[in-house]
């Protein structure tokens, strides 16, 4: 029997918790909330505790947080239109930079695999790329306004400098650097409503997306000259929707996360449930098949906003919710 | 000299700014206008006064001179309305200010115009009346402010009254008549449009004119009644029809309020149309629509002698049908109100056309009734009760009720419903001499017989209802009738004799072991404690000693309470010589309480009796009262007994319908609540502070809270700095009454400025307590009171309560899902208010 067991519940935030993020080493969990604070959780003597609370960084809801690949920095995106970079030295976090430029709510921020680029997106319909200079300065490298609506999320390819974004305009877009400038090279349409979240798998050739239409979609990359004979344009790959998981979720799906080790997909849904999907043994690249392996109904008392697999312990999962709590779960097989 | 003086005064007053001087200046100006001839200085005098109109003044924060804006407004107004000579200057000024953007200026102008109009008179108003009206109409029909609307209508009423002076003939031409015609030329346009809100507002102008006096009413009704009827018949939209009939009903009600020959003549002209319209409405299927019909019939019934017997009969038939076939409460209430009016004018018709049919239905087999409609027999009894307001209507139903009560099986409904209906009928008609006669000659003897025959099957509620009837009889009848009743009661309960015949086995006061007979004690109390004291009250000492020994021996606490009430009622009234001996026995009872090793039932029995006796003496301010109260307070610190005394202490401050009230001629001294509180609070606070046991502290708090309950806020306020910390502490005790009283006190505190300041010092303990009590599972009333308190606390200065905002909002989430809707409603109100504290958009 495959199931999720609740390990512990963190309380401390006073408003909805929007996002949880594990540090690259897997030892710290960061969370952010409508109460305008970030909390850092860690283990002390085998017990999970809140190690520190970062206040004063933002004047409105903090929507998203992301660790740099080295684990020394944390970036936070807020409805106050700014992104704050926090530096961690000897366990103490200090705000070192504020990225200003978006016109209104910043919805997400993420570091590229090298840690030298940061991408942000906002309700102002734009996606920004920031360059991290050697002396810890942050400069805007590009502004892309391909979406026609609110951009909900941006994320980087696990190895390459390829960026993906998704939006209230129901589409997903992929970007690459081209002659010193960033351009959108593919637009993925299939969702019927807002796409809330996108996530690359470990290989980077698959992308999972989820949204307001209560479906999960799996997209496959086809490189130029692929053996399936899928048409491509120039040197760019194309991405095709190869699988749609519908009928499982009862409300908007707010987050999806791909387990680096096991390949399990976990979703966070507005119906208060957490669900895990595993790829079928007879699944194939062009026609992947995913099975629902477990559902935790009432995982939280209200909407589940985010889920995150621990990068080092593949059986450890964190989730957070409108009910102001964060929970840790363990997979029991 | 005189004109020089006036002139001099005008110059002196000119440009005065100090509010203190202005108040005086206005008062002097009024005196001068009243007593001197203004001569050529009319305009100057007006100018020097009116330049302050409308008054704009806001006193400095601490208001050192105590002068308010309203003081200035009123004294200025008194000048403007002092003489008709001002009219030519004042009316244009008022007209201009009526259209002001500032609400307070508008209201001031309306009130000033209302005061000036009767002084200035019709001739002066004539030129301006149309312009004034168009301002008033604009406010009433299109305005946003309810307050301006209200004042506009009041002002219109004053204008109409002025215009109506000296008019006797409604048909001859007058300023009033042409003014009303002008109003109608606009009203005709409104009535054709289907805008319900505008039509209501426009009609309220006409209703206001109708209410001013009967002359104006005639002029309006002449045109309005046929106009509304016509439009009603032409209109097809249902909500417009509803609105029109509502407006028509209001016109008829206006006519009924005047009830003069002239007004009724107009109703009579349209009677046929009205009757056919209302008949049609009564037959309508739509419940709302038929409600309007029923209300219309009520309105027309209030017009004296407009309906003939045959018309009343027609309406009665229709209403009976509605009553018998409809279970909707709203419609039933409308019917009952209308039938009550019908019954006062046409009792014979109501009896034959309505009551008889309802009683027939009562007698019908239950099976048959279920077949056609859902009017339960309890509901039918209720309807009959509420329409029976005439001796003629009482006889059949009383006969029916006693028949049922004497029946062992197959009653149409419970005996409690029957006795309660009987009781309500007597109570509703206690001022009606015919009904009272009937009660004394027929109902009371039947009750006595019923007790003898059925005492075993009557419940305590039945006894209470029957006792109420006896009490009403004693408190409303002549002393000879009371004496007779007293004698019957003594005969029956003491000697076991009814109508001269000795009964074998009914002697409650002699044979004290028969509990179900003793349960009829309230009947004795109702009579012996209500009748006026007189020399002829034979056997009174026998009654006292019998009841006393019942109280001291029974093991049934209810019977003990019945007896104690009887003793208390008598001790409160009997002369000193009578009670001297009784009090000696009572002293022994006190001694018993102070000795240990009593069984707890004995203790409780004694506490009940002694508390009632103490109450009786406190009310008459007897010399022993203080001593007895001290004894009770002393007992509070005694184990077990203390908590029992605290538990029953409420008796002393509670007012009872069935004993020791002024209707029953009890001796009640003024301000006894205040006296009791002021004499004992210090001792209670000291005892509370000195006591070390929580359980005993609680006893003091319960007594203290009971003493506070009946007091006015003014009496309590000076004591609160001392009492409030104690009260808040009392919220931790698991005692519902205590908590309830404390919550009510906190609630009323918040409504008072000083009180709320005091409370602010204790928010740290009060708010968490209130939040906890909002989840008090076993009692929803406590949850509701706690939430109401939280709601009121939200009105305290926001900087003081802001620190608690998030805690309260978070804590109340749980209460939003309370299992009781009434609790949830309060939680929503309180939580919504807390959300708004110090937030943008909150006022």
């Amino acid at each position: 029997m495959f199931r999720l067991e609740e390990i512990t519940t963190f309380t401390g935030h006073n408003e909805a918790v929007w996002c949880v993020a594990w540090s690259p080493s897997g030892s710290l969990l960061a969370s952010c909330s409508g109460d305008k604070t970030i909390r850092i959780w860690g283990k002390e003597d085998e017990k999970w505790v809140c190690k520190t609370v970062l206040t004063d960084g933002h004047s409105r809801t903090i929507r998203y947080i992301s660790w740099s690949p080295c684990g020394q920095y944390l970036a936070s995106a807020s409805f106050d239109a700014t992104v704050v970079i926090w530096s961690r030295k000897d366990g103490v976090f200090e705000s070192i930079a504020t990225l200003e430029g978006h016109e209104n709510e910043v919805k997400a921020v993420n570091w590229s695999s090298s840690g030298s680029l940061i991408a942000t997106c906002s309700r102002d319909k734009s996606v920004w790329i920031w360059e991290v200079t050697e002396d810890e300065e942050y400069e805007c490298a590009s502004v892309m306004s391909s979406h026609s609506q609110d951009v909900k999320h941006v994320t980087w390819h696990p190895h390459k400098e390829i960026l993906a974004s998704c939006s209230y305009d129901d589409t997903i877009k992929l970007y690459k650097e081209d002659n010193d400038d960033w351009t959108c090279f593919d637009t993925l349409t299939s969702h019927d409503s807002t796409v809330w979240k996108i996530c690359f798998d470990q290989s980077g050739s698959r992308l999972a997306s989820c949204g307001d239409d209560q479906t999960v979609k799996i997209w496959q990359e086809y490189v130029p000259g692929n053996e399936e004979g899928v048409l491509t344009k120039g040197n760019d790959s194309v991405w095709k929707c190869v699988c749609t998981l519908s009928g499982y979720h009862e409300r908007s799906i707010y987050d999806i996360c791909w387990n680096v080790e096991t390949g399990h997909l976990v979703t966070a849904c507005g119906d208060d449930a957490i669900r895990i999907f595993a790829e079928d043994s007879c699944s194939s690249k062009n026609e992947p098949k995913f099975n629902l392996v477990t559902t935790v109904t009432h995982a939280h008392a209200q909407d589940v906003n985010a889920v995150a697999w621990n990068p080092k312990i593949p059986t450890l999962l964190a989730s957070c919710s409108d009910d102001t709590t964060i929970k840790l779960w363990r997979i029991i097989e | 000299m005189k004109s020089d003086f006036v002139h001099g005064y005008i110059q002196t007053m000119d440009a005065e700014k100090d509010p203190r001087n202005l108040i005086l200046a206005f008062q002097i100006a009024r005196k001068i206008i009243d007593n001197f001839s203004l001569g050529v200085f009319v305009e100057e005098m007006f100018e020097v006064v009116s330049c302050y109109f409308p008054v704009s003044f806001s006193p400095p924060p601490d208001n050192p001179h105590g002068i308010t804006k309203q003081d200035l407004v009123l004294s200025l107004r008194s000048c403007l309305s002092a003489t008709p000579l001002f009219s030519e200057y004042c009316l244009p000024l008022l007209l201009e200010k009526l259209t002001s953007d500032i609400t307070s200026a508008q209201i001031d102008s309306l009130q000033t115009l209302a005061e000036c109009a009767p002084v200035y008179g019709t001739a002066a108003l004539k030129e301006y009346i149309s312009s004034f009206y168009s301002c008033l109409r604009k406010e009433v029909v299109d305005g946003d402010s309810e307050e301006v609307k209200r004042e506009s209508l009041k002002c219109l009423s004053c204008l109409i009254s002025t215009l109506s002076t000296d008019i006797t003939d409604i048909s001859s031409s007058s300023v009033l008549k042409s003014f009303i015609e002008e109003i109608f030329s606009e009203y005709r346009i409104y009535i054709l449009k289907s805008d319900v809100k505008i039509l209501y507002n426009a009609s309220s102008l006409l209703h206001c004119i109708c209410d001013a006096n009967s002359i104006a009413c005639c002029m309006v009704l002449e045109t309005a009644v046929p106009l509304v009827l016509l439009q009603y018949n032409n209109q097809t939209q249902i909500n417009c029809r509803r609105c029109l009939i509502d407006i028509l009903n209001m016109f008829i009600s206006c006519a009924a309020r005047h009830n003069t020959e002239q007004v009724l003549k107009i109703i009579l002209i349209h009677k046929a149309d009205l009757i056919s319209t209302y008949t049609e409405l009564l037959l309508a299927r739509d419940k709302d629509i038929s409600c309007y019909g029923i209300r219309g019939v009520a309105a027309i019934l209030k017009c004296n002698n407009v309906l003939s017997e045959s018309e009343a009969e027609l309406f009665s038939k229709h209403i009976a049908t509605i009553l018998l076939s409809n279970s909707d409460k709203k419609i039933r209430n409308e019917c009952v109100i209308t039938v009550q009016l019908l019954a006062s004018q046409f009792p014979v018709i109501v009896k034959s056309e309505i009551q008889t049919k309802l009683i027939e239905k009562l007698n019908q087999d239950q099976m048959e009734i279920d077949g056609d409609s859902s009017v339960s027999k309890e509901d039918l009894m209720g309807i009959i009760t509420s329409i029976s307001h005439h001796k003629l209507l009482l006889t059949d139903i009383t006969y029916f009720i006693f028949l049922q009560l004497n029946q062992q099986k197959d009653k149409i409904c419970s005996s409690e419903v029957l006795t309660s209906c009987l009781c309500s009928m007597v109570e509703n008609n206690k001022t009606n001499g015919d009904v009272l006669d009937y009660t004394n000659t027929s109902i009371v003897p039947n009750i006595l017989q019923l007790i003898v025959d059925q005492y075993q099957s009557l419940t305590s509620n039945d006894i209470e209802h029957l006792a109420t009837i006896l009490r009403i009889s004693c408190t409303n009848s002549s002393s000879s009738i009371c004496e007779g009743l007293y004698k019957q009661i003594v005969d029956l309960f003491l000697h076991g004799k009814l109508k001269g015949i000795t009964l074998k086995d009914f002697q409650p006061l002699q044979n004290r072991s028969n509990k179900s007979q003793l349960c009829s004690l309230p009947l004795v109390t109702a009579v012996v404690c209500s009748v006026p004291l007189s020399e002829t009250m034979v056997n009174i000492d026998d009654i006292v000693s019998s009841v006393m020994s019942i109280c001291t021996t029974t093991d049934d606490l209810t019977i003990c309470e019945y007896g104690s009430k009887c003793i208390a009622g008598l001790l409160n009234k009997l002369t000193e010589s009578y009670i001297e001996g009784i009090l000696m026995d009572i002293d022994k009872l006190w001694d018993g309480l102070f000795t240990v090793n009593q069984s707890s039932e004995n203790v409780e029995r004694s506490v009940i009796l002694l508390t009632w006796i103490t109450k009786a003496l406190v009310l008459r301010n007897h010399c022993k009262a203080k001593e007895y109260i001290q004894k009770l307070l002393e007992l509070l610190s005694v184990d077990i007994v203390g908590s029992i005394v605290a538990e029953y202490f409420y008796i002393i401050v509670t007012q009872y319908k069935d004993i020791l009230n002024s209707e029953m001629r009890a001796d009640i001294k003024m301000f006894y609540h205040q006296r009791l509180f002021l004499e004992n609070k210090d001792r209670l606070v000291t005892d509370y502070q000195e006591s070390e046991s929580g359980a005993i502290k609680k006893n003091y708090l319960i007594v203290l809270s009971n003493l506070m309950k009946p007091l006015q806020k003014q009496v309590l306020l000076p004591e609160l700095p001392l009492l409030l910390p104690l009260l808040i502490h009392s919220l931790v005790y698991e005692d519902r009454n205590l908590i309830q009283v404390t919550l009510t006190t906190i609630q009323s505190l918040c409504e008072n400025k000083e009180g709320s300041l005091l409370l602010c010092k204790h928010l740290d303990s009060v708010i968490p307590q209130l939040l906890q009590l909002s989840k008090y599972l076993s009692d929803m009333k406590i949850r509701i009171s706690a939430l109401k308190c939280l709601n009121t606390v939200s009105h305290l200065p926001s900087h003081l309560i802001l620190p608690y905002r998030n805690t309260v909002i978070k804590s109340l989430v749980q209460v939003l899902d309370d299992k009781k809707r009434l609790v949830r409603n309060e939680a929503v109100t309180a939580r919504s208010k807390w959300f708004l504290i110090a937030e943008p958009g909150s006022s």
Partner: protein, 155 residues
């Protein structure tokens, strides 16, 4: 501010809910029902008229549905005119009122009655986006207007 719809038709108010004996019995469970939720929203003030949503017939008892088993509530409202620019604000007020007044176990959907507004889909999508609703409530200008709509007017 000029009014979109200067002379709205005014509808009669529902009478207050009758209190039954079982409502006062602490041992009886009263489920949250359509009428209770309707009572919560009918007194909301219209953003541009001195009238309530009920008086303007923007909300109607028949368009409130409560499913206690599934913890779902769906509400549709009808803007006074098809181009009403206040539709989103009205929807937001309803949403916020219910956020503050209902137990969080309920999932609430607030939508425009089908066919009653020119931008029906756009408005519905915005109202369903909880991120946007949350952001709107941090905008003090919008919050002020919403709070004014939710303040019970003393009449």
């Amino acid at each position: 501010m000029s009014l979109d719809n200067a002379n709205p038709v005014v509808f009669q108010k529902t009478t207050e809910r009758e209190i039954l004996p079982e409502d006062e019995d602490n041992d009886v469970l009263d489920e949250i029902d359509d009428r209770e939720v309707y009572d919560l929203i009918r007194s909301i003030n219209d953003p541009e008229h001195p009238l309530t949503l009920e008086e303007l017939n923007v909300v109607d008892h028949a368009n409130v549905h409560v499913d206690n088993k599934k913890n779902k509530i769906s509400i549709s409202f009808t803007p006074t005119i098809p181009h009403c620019s206040m539709a989103t604000l009205i929807g937001l007020s309803i949403r916020v009122k219910l956020l503050r007044a209902l137990p969080p176990r309920f999932k609430v959907d607030v939508q425009i009655s089908p066919g009653s507004h020119a931008s029906e889909e756009a408005v519905n999508k915005q109202l369903a986006d909880k991120e946007r609703v949350a952001a709107a409530l941090e905008n003090s200008h919008l919050l002020k207007v919403v709070n004014e709509c939710l303040t019970i007017r003393e009449k």
